[in-house]
Structures are given as structure tokens and as C-alpha cells.
């Protein structure tokens, strides 16, 4: 009986594992589809792109789409511009959101919860609503046509990330702060040397999400940039679609290159990222 039961248990486990792996594999492939299509389109001759049924493997590999797409528009310039905006947005968002979240979670002060609610309510405002007032403000201070409207607001926190970090900070035992305080730590030092090191996964999540948002942002650069030499990648990719048709091969080649940084980043930071998501209870 014992041997039989053990075997069946192992078998059951095998079957269970097998089924879950098949499901995961299927889902994984489904999620991979668009990416594979993008890659295969980037390499296909124009005439093969919309054949039905779709052909996944190009008849001949048109590698020339890549150099062509990258020289068709000043792609290196667009990448440089985008990285610049991304870098400062990440620095700004992460630092400012963490500081504000600390204030909302670890310090008691009158009106804290009311102000927290006010801040949360700004999250409900769609960008389109504040777009024109913001534009007028930036125009008045002469920032339209520069990167500043895209970077500086990041230094004033992001409601969603403040909320996310606040929730995370709340889970850190208060005893740690108290101990530090007894040792004579200032509030900022507690934040910097106790809370921030503990919150690394959450901060990494914020940084990654900010990077993705900033990398993919289309409306902001569209509205504020008035010089083609300052365009970002998301604007540059649109250069391949036009009034009379789309250059699919080149568009997909350029898109592949534009997606690459995000994939590479995920590849290396996956663990931190997942950790951040699971500990903050955030679902991507």
C-alpha cells in the first residue's frame, strides 16, 4: 500500500506539474506572438507581410530593414533624447515619491490623511483634462519646446507611486524607526539609512515602471517638443506611418530596436521586479 500510494502521489505530482507547464507554455507562446510577428515582419520582404495564412518564417531574410530603418530617421538621436528624459524622470520620480510617501506613512502630523486623499484624487484626473492648463503654465514660464515639461514634473512626485510606496513603508515595523530614533537619528537619516535600504525592491519597481512609462510616452513629447531634433522614440516610430500607407518592414525593425532596452532591462532585473510586485501587492 505504501509503495503504491507513494508512486501514485509522485505520478499525480508529475501530471499536475505537466498540466501546469503545458498551460504556462501555451500562455507564454500567446504572449510571445506579437513579438515574434514583429521580428518576422521586420525581416520579411514587403509583399510577404500580409499573406494569408501568415507565414512566420520569411522567404528571405531582409536584414537591410534594420540599417535602413535606423538611418531613415535619426534613430540614435531619438534614443539619446529618450534616454535623457527617462533618466531624469526616473531620478525625479523615485526620490520625490519616496520622500512624500515617507511623510505619509511614517510621520504623524495633523491633516495627513486628508491630504493623502487629496493626493490620491489627483490620480483620477485623466491627462487630457489637465493637458491644456498645464500647457498654458509651461508656456507662461517659457518651457514649451524644451525637455523641461517632460522632466521637471517628475520631481514633484507621482500620486500612484507615492501610494504604492506608502503601502510598502507601512509594512515596515515601527520598532526599527524607534530604535534608530533612540540612537539619535534624524528623521531624514531614518528615511535614508533604515527605510530606503529595506524598500529597495519597491523602489526598483517604481523606477522600472517610470522607465516604461517615460520610454513609451507619446502625448507628452508630441505636445511639448517643437523641434524634430528633440523628438523621442515614440514620436520617431510614427514616422513610418503616413497618409498613403505604412512602411511595415521598417516600422517593425525600428520597433524591435525600441523594445530591446525594455526586454534587456527586464531580463536583468526580473527578480527584483517580481519581488517588488509581490511585496507591494501590485499587479502589473
Amino acid at each position: 500500500m505504501t509503495s503504491k500510494a507513494g508512486l501514485s502521489r509522485r505520478q499525480k505530482e508529475w501530471i499536475r506539474e505537466g498540466i501546469s507547464h503545458i498551460c504556462l507554455l501555451g500562455l507564454g507562446v500567446t504572449f510571445l506572438f506579437p513579438f515574434i510577428w514583429m521580428l518576422s515582419t521586420a525581416l520579411k520582404p514587403e509583399a510577404q507581410i500580409f499573406k494569408w495564412p501568415p507565414e512566420w518564417i520569411p522567404e528571405q531574410f531582409i536584414w537591410s530593414n534594420f540599417p535602413e530603418a535606423l538611418t531613415f530617421v535619426p534613430f540614435d538621436l531619438y534614443i539619446k533624447n529618450t534616454l535623457l528624459i527617462c533618466f531624469w524622470t526616473i531620478v525625479g520620480t523615485t526620490i520625490s515619491s519616496a520622500i512624500v510617501a515617507y511623510g505619509f506613512s511614517r510621520i504623524q502630523w495633523p491633516g495627513r490623511n486628508a491630504l493623502f486623499l487629496v493626493m490620491l484624487s489627483t490620480m483620477m484626473l485623466p491627462y487630457q483634462v489637465v493637458m491644456i492648463p498645464l500647457f498654458i503654465i509651461f508656456k507662461q514660464i517659457g518651457w514649451v519646446g524644451s525637455f523641461k515639461p517632460l522632466i521637471v514634473p517628475a520631481f514633484f512626485g507621482n500620486a500612484f507611486f507615492i501610494f504604492l510606496l506608502r503601502q510598502f513603508f507601512l509594512t515596515i515595523p515601527h520598532e526599527l524607526s524607534d530604535a534608530a530614533r533612540i540612537d539619535g537619528c534624524s528623521e531624514f537619516r531614518i528615511f535614508w539609512q533604515v527605510i530606503v535600504p529595506l524598500a529597495k525592491p519597491a523602489l526598483a519597481t517604481v523606477a522600472l515602471f517610470t522607465f516604461m512609462g517615460s520610454w513609451n510616452d507619446f502625448l507628452g513629447p508630441l505636445i511639448y517638443l517643437n523641434d524634430e531634433s528633440m523628438y523621442t522614440i515614440s514620436l520617431g516610430l510614427q514616422q513610418f506611418t503616413g497618409q498613403y500607407g505604412t512602411r511595415w518592414g521598417m516600422l517593425m525593425a525600428a520597433s524591435t530596436v525600441a523594445t530591446l532596452p525594455i526586454i534587456i532591462l527586464f531580463f536583468f532585473t526580473q527578480k527584483t521586479f517580481i519581488q517588488g510586485i509581490s511585496t507591494t501587492g501590485l499587479k502589473g
Binding site: 500580409f50 494569408w52 514660464i141 521637471v152 508630441l222 497618409q243
Partner: protein, 467 residues
């Protein structure tokens, strides 16, 4: 809550300005000297006085910078850039700075307009003239036309002037036009025993040959599409339909509109639109190379002159012919087509409207016909004026692919139509598309669909006039 939000934003505004003032000397690390200089110029441009002051300071004559926004990308963008360069080299006092706006150009324009920082001139092809004119977002060009180009209207093809005219005043000047014709596949005609040189000229003739042209296999799958009507506003021109009266009131229920839609329905009853859509989707998208007509599996297609290049490049062995839209015998209109164009507008808050007008006039080819005749072929466009068509360079372009002449000649036809220039233009156009779809999917009868459309549009007009 609203109050809280407002105070929050006021606070934010104060902080932003304070921060801006604090860091303006150092600039953000992202900025660099170049960008600061740019921000400086924007600041200077804010007031007219400041501008003149800046001009006086700069000292090198009165070179005026005209900001020009357009929506072209890829090869067209390069073409536009080269045109702008030509203008700049021939106009020492004006420097046009072109910007290709990709994606949602209207969002950028309206934000900039509301923020008081619009471009000086913009090329559009969307149906925005009446609604933008009504809102006061673009300026009437009459003052410039009167002093500078009094015969502009008669210089143009009549329909071209109509496109830009709202309430009797010209708000936009088109510089390149599109007309539409019916392409047919001569190879298929031959295959099924029809004379390829005798294409159908009436809808009755077109209807009569369909059984020969469609190919449906045993399982009911479509293998080849003959003719399938679509695009109501295109075809209603051949039926003598009318979408608005002289006063700008919608006339969706016009009897000829109804006839067009009933004709559409007769096809939808015979051939399943869903299957055709699936069939077309399987072969097409709006990509040049995958136009279903190129595959030879669609015998007819209504399209514009630029397709001739696609045919030459992607299907050099396909024998095709071109006819004006077939019209119903007796009551129909020969040589009909819906016409649109690319046109230039000057925003109401433009800083240099006079120089912008100079650019518009030049680009349109007024007094500049020989140049325009050389430029338009590069975009595959049709001229806005017969004076340009007459030029030897444009004649040579038409002779290169002789059927081009047919597209161009349509411009002079009295049966070409535009979308009525009324403030609800875009809405009307969109809802008409939905009405057509409802009929094709069998959800509404043609009569019902047009009556509903009429009501919708009237409601929309009432709504916008209240404001």
C-alpha cells in the same frame, strides 16, 4: 473635492514657478546651452512688441521665422522639407521652419492654440475647416486674397475653392488634390470571357457581370471578389446624392442617397459582407503592397491616383483599366467622384500671418505655376488649378502613365463633390460610415439608417449651436 483639487493645483503651480525661477540660471542638466537658447526665443516671441524688439536687436534685416506644422511622414516628409528649403532659399526675408507632427496632430494643434502658441501655418487633410473656423481657431484668408490674389477663386478648379470656403469666406487654400476612380482587372475580364476594353459604365452593366466574376468554392469560401460596394459618400456622387442643402442643413434622407444605399444593400444581400471582410482582411491592410486589388483576387477597387505607382512597383504584370464611377442609367451622374485635398490654414493666433500667407500662396502655385507643375508629380498629386495642369512639366508627368490624365480631368467635371463644409462635418462623415455599416450588416434598412442619421446630425447641430 473639486475645491481641494484646485487648491492643490494652485499650490503646484506656485511651486513649479518657484522651482523654474530657481533653476533657470543653471538649467536642468538635460537642457544644455542649446535648449536654453531655444526657450529664450519662445519667451521673446510671446508678445508682438517683444518680437519687434528682438528683430531690432538681431540687426540682420527682418528675417521672420514662420513655424509650419504638417502631418507628413517618411518620403513625404522629405519632400516637404525640400520644398520648404526651396522656399527659404528664394525668400531671403522669411525662414520657414517645418515640423512633422506624427500621430495625433489635432491634439497638438488644439492644445497649442488654446495655450496661445500655435504655428503660423499648418497643412491639414482632415475635415476640420468648418469646425475650426466656427471655433475661431483659424483665420479667414479673405484680407490677403483681396489684396494679393484677387482672382484666386477663378484660378482654381471650382471644387477646390469650395473645400476651403466656409460661410462665404476662404479659410483654407488647398495645394494638392485627390480624385477617385474605379480600377478593374483586365486579366480577370479576359479569363471569364468579357471584353477587357469594354468596362461597365453604368451600375446596371456592373451588376449584370457580377455572377461571372465572383469565385466561391464548394465550402462557401470566397476565392475572388467581384465588385462589392462600399464608401457611401463616394458612390452617392454617381447617384446624384446630396448631403446638405445650400444653407448647410443636412439632407441625409435625399432620395438619391437612399438609392445609393439600396444599391449597396442589394449586394450585401447577395454576398455576405462578413465573409468579404474576412477575405479582404486576410490579404490587406492599408499598406501599399497589400492592397487586395494587387493580388488579382479583387476585380474592382475604388482608389486614387497614387495607386498607379503601387501597381507599377508591386504588380507590374497585372493588366488593369480605369473608369469613372459607374452611374445608374438615366438618373445618374457620369464622371462623378468625391474629392479631397491637402490644404493650408493659418491659426487665428499666428504670430506671422502675412509671411505664412506668402508661403501658402507660393506652395499652392499661384503665380508660381511652372514650379508647382514640377513639384506636384513628386507627391503624385493633382493640381488645384487648371493653370498648373497646362504646364509642360505636368503634361509630361501625365503622359508617363497615360491613365493619370483621367484622374486629373475629373477635377474639371461638374459632378465631383466634397463633404459638405458644415461645422459637424467630421461627425456627419463618421456617422454616415456607421449608417452604411448597419445596412451592410443587415441591422437597419437603408431608409431607417438614413432617417436615423438625419436625426443624429440635426441633434448634433442643435447641440453645437447652443454653445
Amino acid at each position: 473635492m473639486k475645491y481641494h483639487v484646485r487648491t492643490f493645483f494652485t499650490l503646484l503651480l506656485v511651486v513649479v514657478i518657484a522651482f523654474g525661477a530657481a533653476c533657470s540660471s543653471s538649467g536642468t542638466p538635460a537642457a544644455g546651452g542649446n535648449e536654453d537658447a531655444k526657450a529664450g526665443t519662445t519667451g521673446q516671441k510671446e508678445g508682438d512688441d517683444a518680437q519687434t524688439a528682438a528683430d531690432a536687436k538681431s540687426g540682420n534685416g527682418e528675417k521672420v521665422e514662420v513655424v509650419y506644422w504638417h502631418m507628413w511622414t517618411s518620403d513625404w516628409k522629405k519632400l516637404i522639407d525640400s520644398l520648404v528649403e526651396e522656399f527659404n532659399s528664394t525668400h531671403p526675408n522669411i525662414h520657414v521652419k517645418a515640423l512633422s507632427i506624427t500621430g495625433d496632430a489635432n491634439a497638438k494643434f488644439l492644445t497649442a492654440q488654446a495655450g496661445g502658441d500655435p504655428p503660423d501655418v499648418m497643412t491639414q487633410w482632415n475635415q476640420v475647416i468648418p469646425s475650426w473656423a466656427e471655433k475661431g481657431a483659424i483665420m479667414s484668408l479673405e484680407q490677403y486674397i483681396k489684396t494679393d490674389a484677387p482672382d484666386l477663386r477663378s484660378w482654381m478648379y471650382p471644387i477646390v475653392a469650395d473645400i476651403g470656403t466656409y460661410k462665404g469666406e476662404m479659410y483654407a487654400v488647398p495645394f494638392s488634390m485627390n480624385t477617385f476612380m474605379l480600377f478593374y482587372n483586365k486579366d480577370v475580364f479576359k479569363e471569364v470571357g468579357l471584353d477587357p476594353e469594354q468596362p461597365p459604365t453604368t451600375t446596371q452593366e456592373l451588376d449584370a457581370i457580377q455572377d461571372k466574376l465572383w469565385k466561391i468554392d464548394d465550402r462557401g469560401f470566397i476565392q475572388r471578389v467581384g465588385f462589392m460596394p462600399g464608401w457611401l459618400w463616394q458612390w452617392s456622387t454617381a447617384f446624384g446624392g446630396q448631403w446638405a442643402d445650400k444653407d448647410g442643413n443636412p439632407t441625409a434622407t435625399n432620395e438619391n442617397n437612399l438609392k445609393t444605399l439600396e444599391w449597396f444593400q442589394s449586394y450585401a444581400k447577395k454576398y455576405d459582407p462578413k465573409k468579404i471582410a474576412a477575405f479582404n482582411k486576410s490579404m490587406s491592410s492599408n499598406v501599399n503592397a497589400a492592397w487586395p486589388f494587387l493580388s488579382g483576387k479583387q476585380v474592382f477597387a475604388v482608389d486614387g491616383m497614387w495607386r498607379l505607382i503601387d501597381l507599377k512597383n508591386y504588380a507590374p504584370n497585372l493588366n488593369y483599366g480605369i473608369v469613372p464611377l459607374p452611374y445608374p442609367e438615366g438618373s445618374g451622374k457620369p464622371n462623378a467622384s468625391w474629392v479631397n485635398g491637402n490644404y493650408n490654414i493659418i491659426p487665428a493666433k499666428a504670430k506671422h500671418p502675412k509671411e505664412a500667407w506668402e508661403f501658402i500662396k507660393w506652395l499652392t502655385g499661384y503665380g508660381n505655376e511652372a514650379w508647382a507643375a514640377k513639384m506636384l508629380p513628386k507627391g503624385g498629386w493633382i493640381p488645384p488649378s487648371p493653370k498648373i495642369t497646362e504646364q509642360p512639366d505636368y503634361q509630361a508627368f501625365m503622359d508617363e502613365i497615360p491613365v493619370r490624365r483621367k484622374f486629373v480631368e475629373l477635377m474639371g467635371s461638374e459632378n465631383v463633390q466634397i463633404t459638405p463644409v458644415i461645422p459637424v462635418q467630421q461627425y456627419y462623415w463618421d456617422r454616415a460610415g456607421s449608417a452604411e455599416e448597419a445596412v451592410m450588416n443587415g441591422k437597419k434598412t437603408p431608409k431607417q439608417a438614413l432617417e436615423d442619421l438625419q436625426k443624429e446630425v440635426e441633434k448634433e447641430i442643435a447641440k453645437s449651436s447652443k454653445k
